[in-house]
């Protein structure tokens, strides 16, 4: 398998095999748009399920129990606070989590003691937590400030690094795309949104940009002197860059996803609801979407923006015109793009590359 993959990577690099990613941008844009709209709908219809940190309330976790009867927990809570409707969920192999609305101190002490009693565990096996209703609002406000500040910084840094704002804009659009879809998936799964989830969302910001930077770096390298030659258009060079980084993108994504997947697995199946599960789902989806967008969305977008630049547009037109006039009309455009950046001495460049004899009529 690895051999095949390596060969595939070689072919992609040399251009022997090439996927027209930039050329089919309509398709990718449509897919992305559909996903974004779907996420938007999911955000409205089932909506996000706010965790206790955002609702406010009391939470008890009874650990080290043998009998995981949810009814017992509900009855115990109601014996102290009769009009409570506690939400009970499993947590790990031997723990139960019970969430209620806000209980006052005395009540929550009582409930904790009663739970310990009912489940026959030591009182210190019961974890209690009380969260005021404004706490979550505080966290989300901080998160939004964080996002805004981060985006500003990233725009500046990327504009400086790539010396072109179009890279930054394309990366930012890809970023919003990633974020929205991740939040949408979270809404669809229906897990509670806790501050840990918010952490996950915020980390996606960094990861999505990271992924895009790796691809853009190659794009920039390949297209650095695109205007000084007339064999390839900007789009073709950019497409070669995406193809060349494809293997790298896949490898980095897989390697980044493996640990996250491990946490997600352990979090979801062993621990149950909690910090690890919340962070890792957000990250897992975000990284997956981030990889997709860095390849299929960011670069085509960047090319699309670039082609609006008069200089690039003129160059593209010139290249295509030259190609047509050299009698290769209808010839596979990508056959031109499908060469490695550095030409190998001795390899044939096609008859078009040969010096032409001037025909003089006598």
């Amino acid at each position: 398998m690895a051999a095949g993959f390596a060969q595939w990577g070689n072919d992609l690099y040399t251009g022997r095999r090439s996927y027209d990613i930039v050329g089919r941008r309509r398709l990718w844009f449509t897919i992305s748009a559909v996903l974004v709209v779907l996420s938007g709908i999911l955000l409205v219809k089932p909506g996000l399920n706010p965790g206790i940190e955002f609702r406010g309330g009391s939470e008890f976790v009874v650990s080290g129990i043998t009998d995981r009867s949810q009814q017992l927990a509900i009855d115990t809570v109601q014996s102290i606070a009769p009009d409570e409707a506690p939400k009970v969920s499993d947590l790990g192999a031997n723990s139960l989590r019970i969430q209620t609305s806000e209980l006052d101190r005395a009540e929550s002490e009582e409930v904790a003691a009663a739970l310990a009693d009912a489940f026959q565990v030591a009182p210190n096996q019961v974890t209690t937590q009380f969260i005021g209703p404004t706490w979550g609002a505080d966290v989300s406000q901080k998160a939004i400030t964080g996002i805004v500040v981060f985006l500003l910084f990233v725009t500046v840094v990327m504009t400086l690094y790539f010396r072109n704002w179009r890279f930054a804009l394309a990366a930012l659009i890809a970023l919003f795309h990633d974020l929205l879809i991740t939040v949408g998936v979270y809404a669809a799964v229906g897990w509670e949104v806790t501050p840990s989830t918010v952490i996950g969302f915020l980390t996606i910001l960094g990861y999505s940009i990271y992924d895009t930077v790796v691809v853009f770096d190659k794009v920039r390298e390949n297209t650095a002197d695109v205007l000084d030659q007339s064999r390839h258009t900007y789009a073709e060079r950019a497409n070669l860059a995406v193809n060349q980084t494809l293997v790298r993108s896949i490898n980095t994504s897989v390697v980044a996803l493996l640990p996250v997947g491990a946490i997600l697995f352990v979090g979801a199946f062993v621990l149950g609801a909690g910090t690890l599960r919340d962070i890792s789902l957000a990250l897992f989806v975000g990284m997956l979407v981030g990889t997709f967008s860095s390849i299929f969305l960011a670069t085509p977008l960047e090319v699309w923006l670039r082609e609006r630049e008069p200089k690039v547009a003129a160059h593209t037109a010139k290249v295509l015109r030259a190609r047509r006039s050299s009698g290769e009309e209808g010839a596979p455009v990508l056959a031109h793009a499908a060469t490695v950046g550095a030409t190998v001495p001795g390899s044939h460049q096609g008859t078009a590359a040969q010096p032409r004899r001037r025909r003089t009529k006598r």
Binding site: A2, D11, G92, Q129, F130, P259, G261, L276, V344, S347
Partner: protein, 611 residues
């Protein structure tokens, strides 16, 4: 260099374990170790607490917690207005109540003063101490008048220390003549309480209990040096308008050299304070002092030297700039009656914490193993370098966290652990970026050492750019975040920095070294750097002993040329020299390509043709 960093980190932790309380295992946060965490927001009915008020509130809470005998409590500020109190283990109910109690400041008249605790050696009489206790002078503005001595020297000058002479007067039952009426307020019980009070006892300095407003109140000062019997509240802290510290303004309008604290009272406070000073002026020491009681503890007890009718008092004494500023801050803080609103209270049982930690570590291990397996599949023997680099990064991270846990009191939380695990992937990413770059160069036909050099040149830029983005994200997250986000952002940022260090100081130098070995440099099929597998163009080359070999493979060579076993006769697999295909070869290659195009292929084909 890298060895130096590692040795420095571990050396300092080692020294820490010897001379201090550093430990080889990093400290764990509450959610992993178990304990109680309170998140409090100071709320005031009279205006928004300023940043300074919150710092004051933190020191008030710290005073309470430290004095109540809870060890290793952590009180920190989070974000703009939250105070996080972390108490390890299961603190008692009283401690928890104490922490959440609202804090207030009052002015009370002093009825009696004594040394805070029974002096162990009789020589340590307060008379020896005036040098280090401030002698405060309350000089009203603008007309200077009189001197006041604060707690320290007062007690020293008073003969016999226990001045209050409880003259049981018959009028006691008929009501107090004034708040300074010692005879009325110093009942035998209060007297007894006062004598029993030992300010060095545990919990005595916890404060938090403001005392009944209309009764006598017995308490210590914040250092526990003196104890006071105080009259009822005369001026509540809310009647302070503001307090500032600065250099004394002399009567002639010049600026003196002494640091003073200026208090401005509100209208109501001005009237009361005028009356109080008028009455106290006539009293005998120590009853001519009034005590500023913050959170149930006396912060200062200046003596009154004149009547202050205009509500602007000046406290002078042996202040330094810092002590004057502190007192002014405390007074300002006192002017806002703060209550602490509990935003979140979390009690984690130790078993749940360790369960979470264990699960987190298992997850990390699974992730690590998967990453290693994948690296071996992709990079063959080169994965050894990945694993080595990961190990170095892991060791370094562990050392730094242990070091920070000792010097900065850093505690590893569950989100922090998650950050570390995710960092495995992100760290391995930069190795992949590097390796892929080298492979790209190999595909272009460079020899390994040349490929490493060029690949590094380009990969370095990419790695730095993407790590910069990661670091930026971590810093922004850290600076603006609350709660668990912080721990996560911290480990993420830390590992990003360590990633850069490791790539620059370990992975790249090692790569250069192994590029010279026969196994890697020679492009062994299992080395992960085999140029043939990477599709590097084979060229006519000299293989020694007068033999020239033309490789049958080329950029458009026969398919399935990627076999693991090297074709015999290729003793020097690294392509050297230049040269292209012959015409015949090219035609053969074209035929082969045509054949291949006709045959159904397994992999997705190129999208040629119209785009």
């Amino acid at each position: 260099m890298l060895l130096g960093i590692v040795l420095t980190v571990f050396g300092s932790v080692f020294v820490g374990t010897k001379v201090s309380n550093a430990s080889w295992t990093p400290g764990l946060a509450l959610d992993l170790e178990g304990g109680t965490q309170l998140i409090l927001t100071p709320v005031s009915s009279a205006g928004t607490p300023t940043s300074e008020d919150i710092n004051q509130a933190i020191s008030v809470i710290r005073q309470r917690v430290d004095a109540s005998g809870v060890s290793e409590a952590e009180i920190s500020r989070q974000g703009q207005r939250n105070i996080v109190v972390s108490l390890p283990g299961t603190p008692s109910q009283e401690t928890l109540d104490l922490v959440r109690k609202s804090s207030q400041m009052d002015f009370r008249p002093v009825l009696a003063v004594d040394v805070g605790s029974p002096a162990p050696e009789p020589t340590a009489t307060p008379t020896d101490s005036p040098t280090d206790t401030p002698t405060e002078e309350a000089t009203p503005e603008p007309s200077a008048s009189a001197s006041a001595t604060a707690d320290g020297s007062v007690a020293g000058t008073v003969p016999g220390a226990t001045t209050p002479t409880p003259e049981p007067s018959p009028s006691a039952s008929s009501g107090a003549q004034s708040p300074s009426d010692a005879a009325y307020y110093l009942t035998p019980e209060v007297q007894q309480q006062f004598e029993d009070l030992d300010c060095s006892a545990e919990g005595a300095l916890a404060g938090g209990e403001p005392g009944a407003a209309d009764k006598a109140f017995v308490t210590c000062d914040t250092d526990g040096v003196y104890k006071y019997a105080l009259g009822p509240i005369e001026i509540p802290g809310t009647q302070i308008d503001s307090a500032t510290s600065g250099l004394q303004v002399l009567p002639n309008g010049g600026v003196g050299t002494e640091w003073v604290v200026n208090i401005k009272f509100t209208n109501a406070g001005t009237t009361t304070f005028a009356k109080t000073t008028e009455r106290l002026l006539a009293q005998q020491p120590p009853q001519n002092q009034f005590a500023m009681v913050l959170d149930g503890l006396v912060i200062s007890a200046p003596q009154v030297n004149t009547v202050i009718p205009n509500g602007q008092a000046e406290i002078s004494g042996d202040f330094t700039q810092a002590t004057a500023a502190t007192l002014a801050q405390q007074l300002n803080f006192g002017s806002l009656p703060l209550t602490f609103q509990v935003e979140s209270e979390q009690r984690v049982s130790a078993t749940l914490g360790s369960e979470q930690l264990q699960a987190g570590l298992v997850a990390g291990l699974i992730g690590l193993v998967l990453v290693v397996i994948y690296s071996f599949l992709q990079y063959r023997a080169l994965a050894i370098l990945t694993v080595g680099s990961l190990v170095v990064a892991g060791v370094l991270t562990y050392g730094v966290i242990a070091l920070l846990s000792w010097t900065q009191g850093y505690r590893l939380s569950l989100p922090g652990v998650a950050g570390l695990i995710i960092a495995i992937g992100i760290t391995a990413d930069s190795f992949i970026v590097y390796f892929e770059r080298i492979r790209d160069e190999l595909r272009d036909g460079r020899t390994l050492p040349a490929a490493v050099e060029r690949g590094w040149d380009r990969a370095r830029r990419t790695i730095l750019a993407s790590d910069a983005v990661n670091l930026l994200a971590a810093v922004v997250l850290y600076a603006l975040s609350v709660g668990g986000v912080r721990g996560f952002a911290f480990t993420l940022g830390l590992t990003t920095v360590i990633d850069v260090i490791v790539v620059f100081l370990f992975t790249h130098p090692m790569m250069e070294i192994i590029a010279r070995t026969r196994f890697w440099g020679g492009g062994h099929p299992l080395s992960g750097l085999d140029p043939r597998r990477l599709g590097a163009p084979e060229r006519t080359r000299y293989v020694g002993r007068g033999k020239v070999v033309t490789g049958p493979r080329s950029t458009a060579g026969p398919e399935d040329a990627v076999e693991d076993e090297p074709v015999t006769d290729r003793k020097v697999p690294t392509p050297v020299g230049t040269g292209g295909m012959t015409i015949a070869e090219r035609r053969a290659a074209e035929r082969a390509a045509a054949r291949r195009a006709d045959a159904p292929t397994d992999a997705p084909q190129t999208t040629e043709g119209n785009d």
